[in-house]
Symmetry: C2
Subunit: 309 residues, 2 copies
């Protein structure tokens, strides 16, 4: 049973992409949007991707699916402001990049008449705001759902409906425990972003190399990190605060491994370096075979970058 | 005065791209190729991008431009094997990613009748070998030349000719001191690659997250690092051994800054995190404005990734 009225709270890259994807999917559902920022609401109004409401309550009332798409740190407050308006039997979900903190905060304030199932679509770009969204963002990407341990038949039915919803947007759905999600995402997303933010800051702070030199010669590899580091700073601040334990655990491993590489460089241990470098190609191949990246050299971004002469 | 016969020693991504770019440029020059690997020579023969020679001497004799395109660690030996065959007045250059070690090794074995000018095109992809090259690789990219302090008029003339050669391949040319090159490239290329190799190894080694999970959810950011880490392991081993001092200096800065971020996460200092994350967007904008990357979200690699709904 699909959803008839979908409320999206937070109209940034992800929220606006869901609204667009619902429209493009052909599912017969009304989309209502709310954002705490008047500027974002005004902008959303011009995009024609759903009915923009003046309050969260107005967006939520009578909705059978409510999707929280705010930064992780704002979710508890946003939810507290709308729980009273939740309809009987409503499915409440979110798209936050961390899951344990969100589950702990939201499960306890969700009323018994509604069904809370946390979620996270592993999709995005470095851009943010309502204009950055697009309908195909979730195609061939995974959405992870981290349901509660709730045996009520209607909860299980809600889980099936939410899975079907994401499938209809082109996503593949995986069920996972919230803690496991946070550990897996720490290595596949959170620490990579932290490292990208960090090297851009390191580069900016060098007294010995100018920013214009860094920009000029960034095609040597640095430019890749600037893309990840251009992601929304508020969203990412919240991610690191909410997933502290897993991020610190993975970061500890990363730093330890980097110290070993540093030592190999200092002592001229070419075999150790080569051994580590060689292992990485296989992982790249697997990423491409799993359909999670394009095989085009340089992602096809450069002229002629299709590998043809 | 352009070159009439160009010898390329080493027919990988860069060497074969130069051969193709010479052909595409319309310059009236004969291209001769040599690679130490019989397999690469056999493969190059089928590509029709130049005359493949059985020995380096045969490629080099009568050439007025000789380009060394081997890994940095192989350049001294490759050069020692061909100096006797160098023609009177020949310009000898290289494309290595580090410059001080190459300059120190090659300047002293270049005979007085030839002119050695080290160089480095800041261009490439994650692929390698003769099939990976393409003619437009150098377009709109910078090539750095690090000439000797040599006041002979014919040396200065050789520098002008070499600059004009790279310009004809579509590159922009910059003259720089070899030590400065190595420091600038340590931050714009070498340390970014080291970090990418490192995080892929860290991910592979985790006992708590499987490789298939890492691959499946790599679109969260990790996949970007797998591309850089798929680069040629021999080439990169040589880079780190040859540019040890600058790499260790920049790596020390990176690690220090990362420790500060780690501390901010541990103590929940959201303002510190936000302050650092926010600075990165400006650098991204500058990279795009300088024509060194595409503004397309996700580099346009995903369906619909053009930012349109």
């Amino acid at each position: 049973m699909s959803f008839a009225r979908i409320a999206i709270i937070g109209v940034g890259l992800i929220g606006s992409s869901i609204a667009r994807a619902v429209g493009a999917s052909g599912m017969n559902a009304e989309v209502r949007l709310y954002d705490a920022s008047p500027d974002v609401r005004a902008r959303a109004q011009t995009l024609n991707i759903g009915l923009v409401c003046a309050t969260a309550e107005e967006a939520v009332c009578d909705a059978d699916l409510v999707i929280l798409a705010t930064p992780v740190g704002a979710m508890a407050a946003a939810t507290a402001g709308l729980v009273d308006a939740l309809a009987d039997g409503a499915v409440l979900t979110d798209v936050g990049s961390t899951k344990r903190a969100v589950v702990d905060a939201l499960a306890k304030i969700t009323p018994a008449r509604a069904y809370f199932i946390a979620g996270h679509p592993i999709a995005g770009t470095e851009q943010s705001g309502p204009d950055a969204g697009f309908a195909s963002l979730f195609e061939n990407r995974w959405t992870i759902l981290t349901p509660q341990d709730d045996a009520r038949p209607r909860y299980q039915e809600a889980l099936s409906r939410l899975s079907a919803f994401w499938t209809a947007l082109g996503a593949r759905v995986e069920i996972m425990d919230a803690d496991r999600h946070d550990l897996v995402l720490a290595i596949t997303s959170h620490v990579p972003h932290l490292i990208a933010f960090n090297i851009v800051a390191t580069a900016e702070d060098l007294e010995t190399v100018t920013e214009s030199e860094i920009v000029k010669y960034s095609a040597g590899g640095f430019r890749d990190f600037t893309r990840l580091a251009a992601s929304d700073p508020v969203m990412w601040r919240d991610v690191f605060l909410a997933n502290k334990d897993a991020v610190l655990e993975i970061l500890g491993r990363f730093t330890e491994d980097l110290a070993a590489l540093q030592r190999a460089i200092r002592w001229g241990d070419g075999d150790a370096l080569h051994g580590i470098f060689e292992r990485a190609r296989r992982v790249r191949r697997e990423v491409i075979e799993a359909g999670q990246d394009t095989p085009a050299p340089n992602w096809g971004r450069d002229q002629g970058g299709d590998g043809k002469s």
